[in-house]
Structures are given as C-alpha cells and as structure tokens.
C-alpha cells in the first residue's frame, strides 16, 4: 500500500507513518494508533452498550478487526473514518447476535411520561442517555442503528449511510420508517 505522507491535509502524518510501520510488523506503531483513537471509539461504542465491560470488549474487537484488514485501508480518507465504519459493523453485529429477550430494557411509567413530554426534564445528560438508550433498545437493530447514528452521533444522512455501508437513499428510507416506528412506540408504550 502506498501512503502519501503529507499528500492530503485530511490525513494525519503520524497515522500514515504508524500504519506503514504496522504493515511492516511494528507492534508498537499499532499500539500508538490504538492509544490515539481508543477514546473516540469508546465514545462511539458506548452507543452500543451501556455496560463498561461490554463496551471495552467491543472497542477491543474494533481494533483487532482493523488490524486484520489494515491492508484494505485506502489512505484517501482519514483512518478514523475507516475505523468508525468498522466500529459500526462490530456494534451492529453485537446487537444482532443478542437474544431477543436481552433487548428488552424496561422503561418505568415515569420514563414514559418523560418521553411523552409530560414531564419537562429527564435530568442530567447521563439520565437522558439512559432513557434514550432504553427506548432505542426496544427497536430492531437496523432501526436502532440509523437513529443512533443520526440522533446520538450527530451524523448527517450521508455520513450515517457511509458508516453503515448503505446508500443515502436507503438510509433516508430506513430513517423515515424508524422514526415512524419510534413515534408509535412512544405513543403506545405503557
């Protein structure tokens, strides 16, 4: 793989150097890459599980998969963008591999009141995140993914499509259907 160091401002020269060294078998170079991006990936993987042990396991899997397919990385885009696509794939696989019963996180009556807008505030960011996570967990993995990417990761539709490996039109359609199902869930939830 040819890595044009300094050829594009969007590429980090340190990343390029460390990727090239990793491909030549330098483990310490890969350690630097992991240490540089593990916090970004931790933030992203916390959307897939609220349990720290599971989240750390997912982060681990992301970097192992990234290493195993590092030769496929095209240096036309920053490494983090490529890493985020792998992170979505690992997280989505985690959701789909869980048994149906595992998805059911119960929401209390108070939570439903919050979601229907009858109680004005969910509290701090942590409480809001818990509530949103529990609600999205009621949906199918594909609905949950598009809504997570758009509402929690703040992706545009094009970014969400890119990360999930869908077309933009497909992502828009999924988002439309997922929003409808979410609205119905909030309205009908006990």
């Amino acid at each position: 793989m040819v890595i044009p160091i300094g050829a594009s401002t969007s590429l980090d020269a340190d990343d390029c150097r460390d990727i090239a060294a990793t491909l030549l078998g330098d483990g310490e170079a890969y350690r630097r890459l992991v240490e540089r991006y593990q916090h970004d990936i931790a933030r992203q993987m916390s959307r897939f599980s609220r349990e720290f042990a599971v989240r750390d396991e997912l982060i681990h899997d992301v970097f192992v998969e990234a290493y195993l397919s590092l030769r496929n990385y095209k240096s036309s885009a920053p490494w983090l963008h490529w890493l985020r696509k792998i992170a979505v794939r690992v997280g989505y696989r985690y959701w789909t591999s869980r048994k149906a019963g595992d998805r059911e996180i119960t929401l209390s009556d108070e939570d439903w009141q919050h979601l229907r807008g009858r109680s004005p505030d969910a509290g701090e960011a942590f409480e809001a995140a818990e509530l949103v996570y529990a609600l999205l967990a009621q949906l199918s993995p594909s609905d949950r993914l598009i809504l997570t990417l758009v509402y929690l990761d703040g992706c545009t539709m094009a970014e969400a499509a890119h990360r999930a490996g869908w077309t933009v039109v497909g992502a828009k359609l999924r988002a439309f259907r997922a929003r409808n199902r979410l609205a119905k869930l909030i309205e009908e939830g006990s």
Binding site: G27, A42, G117, L152, R179
Partner: protein
C-alpha cells in the same frame, strides 16, 4: 410537521450527546490478542477452507454436468447459454 413524541425524543438525544465517556485503555489487550492471532488467521479458519473447497467442487461438478448434457459438443456448449437467452 414532526409529532410531539419525536420532538421530546430529539431533545433528550441532544442532551444525551453531552454525556461524558469514561476513558478506555485496551491497547495492551489488543496487542496481546494480535500476538496470539496472526493476520492470516481468518483465511486459515477451517470453516472458510471448507466453504472454499466446497465451492470449487460444486463448480467442477456443474461444469461436468453441463458438458455431459451437451453431448460433448464443446462449440455448442459455449454457444448454448446465448442461444437460450435469445430464444
């Protein structure tokens, strides 16, 4: 216009974006895993070898059946798919 439930959800989602994430430290574990799992591990996985060999055997069998079905006429065998499509 968006319905109220989604407006409320969006408000909570924006609030949730501000949640701080605890730091992760997985570098040692990742390197330990990679030392026990070389990059070619996937390709050497018995399951993938089984699928690969199975595909090859199935393709060869299909070619033999196709050849026998055309009465050993190689030229006809080559042309037959196009003739079938045109019909």
């Amino acid at each position: 216009m968006k319905s109220d439930p989604l407006n409320t959800f969006e408000r909570f989602a924006i609030q949730a974006q501000g949640e701080t994430t605890s730091r992760a430290d997985v570098a040692d574990r990742v390197l330990a895993t990679l030392q026990t799992q070389p990059p070619t591990a996937l390709a050497r996985d018995p399951m993938y070898l089984f699928f690969g060999a199975g595909s090859l055997v199935a393709a060869c069998a299909a070619m033999v059946v196709f050849w026998l079905g055309t009465d050993y006429d190689t030229l006809f065998a080559l042309a037959q798919p196009f003739v079938t499509v045109l019909q």
